[in-house]
Symmetry: C2
Subunit: 452 residues, 2 copies
């Protein structure tokens, strides 16, 4: 390992040090400080027009270098915000005090997305320090709201068309099957995240005196949640599957050939037994089929021992993963209709939308995908496969639909990186190979434009 | 208001000052300090053999005065432990910093049971200070575990038979319909409190990657909870109603005549609409019919905003109110059978018992009930009615079954005292009338024994 590369790891550690949890108001300053730190890094390595742009919540970090006339312009997207960290007691080290162990750096955001974002920053640093300039024009756009659905980014992008003009965009916020097998992602699920609250009487009351007399909002919430799936693991909201795109037998066959094996996905999940929609493989269920997860629930007494109350309210965080051609706004309406049709009159049910994003399929026939495949071959010694992903990156749909820029989804995270869970980590081997991949990627984009 | 009575209120305030929450381990010392304070009060007024008796959790406070040969011995039971206080932000004043407002003292434990327990202590203080002695023999037994099912008391009572020999017992830990209408309670519901936990994969995982692939323990828990009631508001656990005693038409007619009106119970609950078992009035549902309440639920992400996870576990606190002749041990087995029959194989379900108590009916034909009725007439100017209560006091069954001591249940709390909820309070009018009632009660027990 060269000294340069060792230094890169300690800088990644410094990046992970910031508790930039976008969902939690108490971390607002941390998110901002992380943005400022990232902006300084970009300035230091040689980028221009570095700008930490305020939005209604968390800032965007923009920078560019546009002195390669005749060469293509690449938009590099990433996000520096991270998921919440609880349950804290399951971490082997404090989530914002990263440690390196057996070839992995552990910390919240190590792989999602600070480590992957950093591969491109460090590739640019390589170009500036060795060649004094990158081989192509560069625009960097790093946001602090990806984990909460990118509300500020969408607003800012609509108002700033010109700045984002580019020939192609690269997003590294996804997984590859293993350190040996790179992959280009061609399909992402969309998302709709909500909070649903059931409210009964105005305050908690004695369950000895009133148990059996008033309807319990926890019962009500549980009955709503229990009504969301049928016995075949399908989502039982009327109309939910109407817009789901049927995938061709050819695509399903290719997925089966190159995709992760069902047993491996199950192993990575840590679950003993699979579950889900009948008629589809585990891999298909997690990528080209929609899903619904309850992400959290709370209501009533949360402390030790018993407490004899009927609580006044209960709430749950529920999120969908959506697939083409489902639209989050339409799904929201179907969900509201379903809930209001079944909720008993004794409770009030309110639904608050927390985030939404459209599903997306990216084209595999553009020159940026060719360059990515070349770069992967050079850095990993292996031809990439093409993967459907179960995750969501709201920006991808915006870049494609609003700016008509082809996107390449080039990931470096591993299935065992514990993204969103305790002990998130990032493989140092993939970090270094990611930097090399990005160097080769920019190189090939420059070469291809010379040859054309 | 005499100066003496004013002083009583400030002492009740000092009693309520102790955050003696028996369910929460962090309040262990507070419970103990409250017991010591109470013991000192008993010593100060003139009781003997004052003893703060350690149990495995929270101490019992015992004291007696046995110098009235030929007179009956009265066992006075009460509890100095209280319910947890959350949601804290709904209190008009800090729960352990009581305030007096418009004739009520507000604070956790004000009515349940510190205020009611104190009526007897203050009646004894009256006797010692005015007559230098009570008119009958007295044993006081005040416990610190009532709100968690009295585990230590049961152990100690089994091992200390002789100490508790008495001719009758009085328990003041229940409600009367209004300040104008006293009542003697003749029936209490039993109780079974549990914590049920559903566990899936070993840690929280990314719901983009794994949503739709593993079974979500929150779904599982909600499905279990949704399965516990049928559409008629009946508990749908097989065999649950087999031992429920049918009440006679005569009893139901009397209940309807003297009991709280359905509209009033609903008003007190703060709910807009009633709910519950078809075929029974609201009053019957809350007293002579069993019920099941989910007291709390938690699982997954509890913070602000969205978090894209499938949580690894979820748990709920569930409690039954049981009626004669239901046995908590038998109901526990029926619940376990039901849950294990319906829980899907993808999750592990564990059930932990938190507390249990048998339902009880007390006889209305013993001389202690006659004395209580006399005392109520003197202090309230009104003949008491006889009420079935929905609450539970584990000791009552123990006193009756193990010691064969007749019990009289003489309450002073009001339906609007917010027991177990925020802003618990106790009417000062009832506090003073309660003290008078206890004075007349002891007086009549002494007189009756002279006449017999």
């Amino acid at each position: 390992m060269s000294n340069k590369f060792r230094f890169f790891v300690s800088e990644l550690g410094a990046f992970v040090n910031f508790p930039s949890i976008s969902a939690q108001p108490q971390h607002r300053e941390d998110v901002k400080n992380c943005a400022i730190w990232l902006g300084r890094q970009l300035l230091k390595i040689g980028l221009e027009h570095v700008n930490v742009i305020p939005t209604r919540k968390h800032p965007l970090v923009y920078a560019d270098w546009l002195h390669a006339p005749g060469k293509p312009t690449l938009l590099i997207y990433g996000h520096y915000d991270v998921q919440p960290v609880d349950p804290l007691n399951e971490w082997i080290a404090p989530p914002f005090n990263p440690i390196v162990r057996e070839g992995f750096i552990y910390g919240r955001g190590a792989s999602d997305d600070k480590g992957q974002l950093f591969t491109h920053v460090k590739a640019l640093e390589y170009y500036f320090s060795i060649h004094r300039r990158p081989p192509i024009n560069i625009k960097c756009l790093f946001e602090g709201e990806e984990e909460i659905g990118s509300p500020g980014l969408e607003e800012w992008m609509s108002a700033n068309h010109l700045n984002l003009k580019a020939d192609g965009a690269v997003v590294s916020d996804m997984r590859i099957p293993s350190t040996e097998q790179p992959a280009i992602t061609y399909s992402l699920r969309g998302m709709l995240a909500m909070e649903i609250t059931a409210t009964g009487q105005k305050q908690d009351i004695h369950s000895g005196t009133f148990g059996g007399v008033v309807y319990n909002p926890i019962h009500g919430l549980c009955e709503i949640i229990a009504s969301l799936h049928d016995e075949d693991g399908r989502i039982s909201i009327p109309g939910f599957y109407d817009s789901v795109l049927d995938r061709s037998p050819k695509e399903r066959k290719y997925m089966k050939a190159v995709g992760q094996k069902d047993a491996d996905i199950l192993h990575d999940s840590g679950a003993a037994l699979p579950w889900g929609e009948k008629g589809f493989s585990v891999y298909e269920r997690s990528t080209i089929r929609p899903s619904l997860s309850v992400n959290g629930i709370k209501g009533g007494y949360q402390g030790d021992g018993p407490k004899a109350i009927v609580p006044s309210s209960a709430s749950a965080k529920i999120s969908f993963r959506l697939v083409p051609e489902q639209n989050p706004k339409h799904i929201e309406q179907l969900f509201r209709n379903h809930v209001h049709a079944i909720a008993p009159e004794q409770i009030q049910v309110s639904i608050k939308i927390l985030a939404g994003a459209k599903p997306v399929v990216v084209s595999l026939t553009n020159p940026f995908v060719q360059a990515a495949a070349y770069a992967y071959r050079q850095a990993f010694g292996q031809q990439p496969i093409f993967l459907a992903s179960g995750g969501t990156i709201p920006i991808v749909n915006l870049i494609q639909e609003q700016f008509n820029i082809p996107v390449v989804l080039m990931g470096f995270a591993l299935p065992t990186d514990n993204m969103h869970g305790p002990n998130e980590r990032f493989s140092l081997a993939n970090f270094y190979r990611g930097i090399l991949t990005s160097i080769y990627f920019m190189h090939d984009l420059a070469e291809a434009s010379s040859n054309s």
